[in-house]
């Protein structure tokens, strides 16, 4: 499993799994603070972003694939939704810089491998899964174009 997963995503997963369960929430909170702002060209253009309806909070993602086939993921979520921001931050950090093929090869159950299901609840984790699947679909659409 470790060998198919891109390095950064594997690192993030191991970072979570090394911690006792209660401390994993704190790490997720740190990720939520690290979610970068979306690039200026997307600000005020909600039509360019895709709403992740699997998440309870209003979270939007934008996935770019550049001419070399390298992926960049951006996301916005309100400050009152730190769990969702944390999920978005993990995926933005883990997917940005990968090739389109690498992003598409990320297993759909990656969110469930972080050891967060019990501390966060399965329903909340499914929001992150929705985010990942939507990011992959955008990569598929944008690399086909």
């Amino acid at each position: 499993m470790t060998d198919v997963l891109p390095e950064r995503l594997a690192e993030i997963r191991d970072e979570f799994l090394e911690l006792p369960e209660p401390d994993r929430l704190q790490l997720l909170l740190e990720y939520s603070y690290e979610l970068p702002a979306v690039p200026a060209e997307y600000e005020g253009h909600p039509e360019l972003a895709e709403r992740v309806v699997e998440c309870q909070s209003p979270v939007y993602i934008i996935v770019d694939v550049d001419a070399e086939g390298i992926v960049a993921m951006h996301a916005t979520a309100p400050a009152e939704a730190p769990t969702t921001r944390g999920f978005a931050s993990i995926l933005a950090q883990g997917l940005t810089g990968l090739t389109a093929a690498e992003v598409l090869a990320v297993p759909g159950d990656y969110p469930q491998s972080l050891g967060l299901t019990r501390v966060v609840s399965p329903l909340r984790i499914s929001g992150m899964t929705g985010m990942l699947l939507r990011a992959q679909r955008q990569v598929r659409a944008k690399s086909a174009a």
């Binding site: 929430l25 704190q26 997720l28 909170l29 939520s32 309806v53 699997e54 998440c55 309870q56 909070s57 209003p58 400050a79 009152e80 939704a81 730190p82 769990t83 969702t84 944390g86 019990r118 501390v119 966060v120 609840s121 329903l123 909340r124 499914s126 929001g127 929705g130």
Partner: protein
């Protein structure tokens, strides 16, 4: 020992049970007082960690109030262990607050009530109002001294309705559907902006009136006045004293908010929350469902 009630608000004085709400001023002046425990309960499991009322403890609805396996609440032993961990004693005054206009706070209050915890109140306006008023917030950990909370069996008979209870209730008393109009008429199965949580059919329970939960909320995020609430629930929805009432939503959280309004603010004595709500009813086999904007008739009567 219970802490005295908040008598500072003219608005509260009009409610059936004025002591069920506290103002920010009242709470801020009493933080740390023995016999008072402040509980934050939010939709987002991490929101508490970004800053909470000093000394408040967190109770999470997903991971702490729900049983991890069966779709049910924790049992008497689980509840005793939870409250013991949070430093709550059986005769403590508990003030709950949270995000989303106190949805989850009201839900937690309702679950506390299933276990007969007597003195449980809401902070009017919840987390957002507290912060908007510039009151203290900290990320410092709360370290409550554990208590021995007694094991009390949960009593579902008075405040909670199961699906079978709702079937028996059809045609016998009012039902209040507190979801959005789109969920009520069947054009969608989950709240706008909420995940599809597994209801297979859309619509509402026959005879249920649509009174979205947010109609009880004032501009400042607190509850509306007694007169405004009476107009909505007694005047427009036609609820009458003595009615046996069932409220429901999607998973029972928004209807806990309405349950609180009907029970504690308006004084209806027989209100049950159907926590199975639409995620159960909308997937159950052969239960009656009505679509469209009208309540509809119960076919069996």
């Amino acid at each position: 020992m219970p802490v005295e009630i908040d008598t500072s608000s003219e608005k509260f004085a009009e409610y059936a049970e004025p002591g069920r709400l506290v103002t920010g001023d009242w709470l801020q002046a009493r933080l740390g007082e023995p016999g008072l425990v402040v509980v934050e309960s939010d939709e987002d499991v991490l929101l508490y960690e970004t800053g909470h009322i000093p000394g408040a403890v967190k109770v999470d609805w997903h991971t702490e109030l729900n049983d991890p396996v069966v779709r049910d609440y924790v049992d008497g032993e689980g509840f005793a262990a939870l409250l013991g961990r949070k430093g709550i004693s059986r005769d403590d005054t508990v003030v709950i607050y949270g995000d989303k206009n106190n949805w989850w706070a009201a839900y937690a209050l309702w679950v506390f009530s299933l276990f007969g915890h007597q003195d449980v109140r809401l902070l009017d306006g919840g987390r957002d109002k507290w912060i908007a008023e510039g009151r203290p917030i900290t990320t410092g950990a709360s370290t409550p001294a554990p208590t021995e909370y007694p094991v009390v069996e949960r009593d579902d008979s008075l405040l909670r309705a199961y699906k079978e209870d709702v079937l028996a209730h059809l045609g016998a008393g009012p039902l209040i559907d507190v979801r959005s109009p789109e969920e009520y008429d069947g054009s969608r199965t989950s709240a706008p902006a909420y995940p599809e949580e597994g209801a297979l059919r859309g619509g509402h329970i026959p005879t249920a009136q649509s009174v979205p939960w947010a109609r009880a909320v004032a501009e400042d995020g607190g509850f509306k006045t007694r007169a405004e609430l009476d107009d909505i629930y007694r005047g427009q929805a036609g609820l009458e004293d003595g009615d046996t009432i069932v409220a429901y939503c999607r998973i029972g959280e928004r209807s806990s908010h309405t349950w609180f309004v009907l029970t504690h603010l308006l004084g209806f004595e027989n209100v049950r929350n159907y926590d199975g709500s639409w995620t159960e009813w909308g997937s159950a086999v052969r239960v009656p469902i009505v679509t469209g904007a009208e309540p509809g008739e119960f076919p069996g009567r």
